[in-house]
Amino acid sequence: MSTSILAAGCYRLALRAFPARLRSRYGDEMAATFAAAHTQRRNLSARAGRRFAARAWFDAVRAGLGTRFNGGIRQPGGPDRGKVRGAQEWLWTEVGTDLHSAFKVLRKEPLFAITVIAVLALGVGVNGALSNALRAVFLAPAPFNEPDRLVMLDLSEQNVESTEPPRAFAWSYPKYEILAETEGLAASSVAAYARRSITLTGHGAARKLMAEVVTSDYFAVLGLPAWDGGAALTVDQVLISHALARSLFGDTDPAGQEFAVNGVRQIIAGVAPPGFRGLTGSADAWIPMAAVPRIISPTLLENFDGHWLLAIGRLGTGGTFEQLRAQMASVGARVHDGFEWTDPTTRQVGTARSFEEARRNAAARQAVGVVSAAAGLVLLIACANLAVMFHAHVANRRREIAVRLALGSARFRIARILLAEVLLLATTAGAIGVGVAWAASRAVVRAWPQSFMNGSWNVRFVDSTGLQFGVPAAVATFLLASVAGVLFALWPILRASRTDVAVAMRAGGRGQSHRDTTGPWLVATEVAIALVLTIGAGLMISSLSRLARVDHGFDSSNLLTVEYTLQRGSAEAEDPAAFHDQFLGRVRTLPGVVSATMECRSPLDIHCWTTRVRRAGDQRWGEGQRPRIGVHLVDETHFAALGIPLLSGRAFTAEDGAETPPVMIVNDTAAQRLFPSGDVLGQPLTVGVSLTSGNDTAAIIGVVGDVLYDSPAQGVMAEVYVLHRQEPGRDTTVIVRALGEPLDLLPLLRAELAVLAPEVPLTNARTVDSIGAAQLGDTSAITRLLAAFAALAVLLSATSVWGTVAQMVGRRRREMGIRMALGARAAQVVRQSLRYGLVWASGGAVVGLLGAYYLSRTMESMLFEVTSTDAIAYSASAVLLVLVSLMASYLPARRAGQVDPARTLRAE
């Protein structure tokens, strides 16, 4: 059995402590000697091998540093000490000696050393990972040139009767042109962009991907060299992302190649820089605005009421944000006056937001803030725990320290040795903490839902999968461990160095004096923090369980949803309704399919769109008062297929179609709100947009049960269902209920669609349950993290309670023995010890309850149907903490009851 590669590698690393001159002369010899000696020990036993490797490693570091700074061959401390060695050399040798003695002490107490290292490594590891994520999402600058000069230029809607801040929405192209043509703007350039899903064909299988439609100044605004060509995109050109270029063309230059975007041939003009995914963070292609009529819609650029663009500008030299904001107000006024605006309760205004502000999603910021604060509290507990352990460690060595002092050791020297122990522990914990942080970073990326990292609407750069735990984060984590460790051990060290020799010698090995309450105070602090965390986690768990129990109004089991879009101008798109029906017909005959239906969006996702109700029966609403209603395009089997109950009237039938009178079905909420008299069936309903066969009015033929389309917090709103044959569209979502695993049906569905329309890709396959789980994503990710932190906090505080009570029992063993000799029963002594642990833990719990009361308010908006002062979460957490403390106190307290009075008195 020869020496292991790891041991040899570590030894080579340790040899770096030697000066290069010596290393080049003796390095190989030393490594060979180590290998031979290590092999010999390993052949005796693996343990002996490990022991030798550790000793040799430390010896090499020490000897190497000693050689660098101490050249003599005489005894250290000999007559030439002051002459030969300079101050720096002396320092290094002393540090080496201190570290060596610290190593020897810690080797004798492996349990203490391992516990301290594990606690601190865990604490800093978690914090390192989270602060890294926090920095990437919120603190690191956006990957564009001078991002602080970028300004989001919003067209916003201002309620004329309220003082609420204006709500940003999007520009239509004609309205954007007013902004683009405004002269003398404080912005040197402005651009508009929008995210669109496109279908790419002409290179392998058809694929659906995200593109940004951009005006010509887009790249100039972002301060990027546009692409290799450098010129503006012409109407038949497209720019593609580096990732897409690699996947389609490998290493060959794609410039000049062609492919079809939504069935229209475009030439690839160039490739964006690697990693650049545009302002939406997800674009794989950039399409010039001029190509919109060809690729997306012939009339979209002329439609002043179609709001779909966002605008961004770059402040010019000398231009200020305030100037630009004032200029935007006047642009907004011109837009408002220049186009028809039907809603008298609102007006359009122009506003400006700093881009760095806009990219930060308020909800995500709050959640990350809460999670980071929780991680910070865990670190605090870890440090307090470390202080408790170190305090006990020092107290147990009180006699040894007193002996050293009595023999003439300087107090400074005692403090230095203890400090060396802490340094050794903290730096080891730091190194392991870096590993923990790296692993935790990967876990964060996996656990964190994508949506969580989003900035506000259409502004997103941070792809969580790209979060890297790099060198700066590793260095920061390492330093955090070292500083935190040393800081929290300072107090016990200072106390130890002030040990009163006479008192300590008299007290024998019994540790600190009776009056010493440092440990209990730290324990109480830990319990208080642990309780705050437990209550926070309890509130989130309670909230999550309520969210998970929300009734969505339909049966979501075994449902698969897939989407497709028929290409404009294709044969299928001439009669999309017939195509959808034909496809659904084929799907229903597939083996393993229970039912198949369609809608324009997946259930649980969102409404197809929302509009306003103008008239319901005899009731009409004036402008500004019209109730909002969600619209859904469905086929006649929809309600039966999803298990949505028909409450009255009839469902759509195969006879209803484009030629028959327009009909609608409403949900229960719409029926109750719009028709308070209860007379719904047969009544006309008029909505804000034309829905059925070009009509905005249709008769209500049925009422169905409520389905929750918005988030649970928003609740059910009024909804109207329209038959897809009366309002045909090219986009659709097919919803299939499977007998078994829904995703197993996907290949069959693809094959069926390929038979009918080979050029149309089937996209976005998801199970409805996964959509539901994704909706809980943020809450469940935060809950999981907080619960993990709380569990860690409870564990740490329990070990501290245990340690402190055990120490108290050890310290007062003599007193207890005497009491028992004088007639006290064992149960009384146990009770006394239990009371000691419980009093301090309860004190901590009271402070924790107060702390939670104030701190949990920051979580209010993250909670669903639970208040931040929920009595159950508070009382359950407090009871849990006190019980855990009781259990932790019981083990050492039981030992107190087993004290043998006779033996204790003999020992006196």
């Binding site: 010596l22 010899e29 030393m30 060979a32 000793r55 000693g66 061959i73 005489r74």
Partner: protein, 120 residues
Amino acid sequence: MNAAARELLPLSPPVFHVLLALGDSAMHGYAMMQAFEAKTEGADTLLPGTLYATIARMVDAELIDECDPPANASDRRRRYYRVTDLGRATVAAESERLSRLLRIARAENMVPAGSSDPSA
């Protein structure tokens, strides 16, 4: 020679150990480790880092020097060392110094009973 040797006293333990390990033979580093362990019956160990740092200093101080591998060398690729005359004088001076101290300790009854007397 003796004056030069006395200049170097007291020797640090690793230097003394290396001189004792080498004795009259030529050895490489690992052999020195083994010899030292054997001579102290495993009570003390010389670890490679300390050993070579010491060797380097002793070569500089001319207490030992590098030599050709002996005829019966187990591994001819290693560096071999032997004690110089100065080294021999130094180890003798150090041993004498220590014996003197030991005698004083004995006279003061500070040496535990049962310890063998090296001068005996």
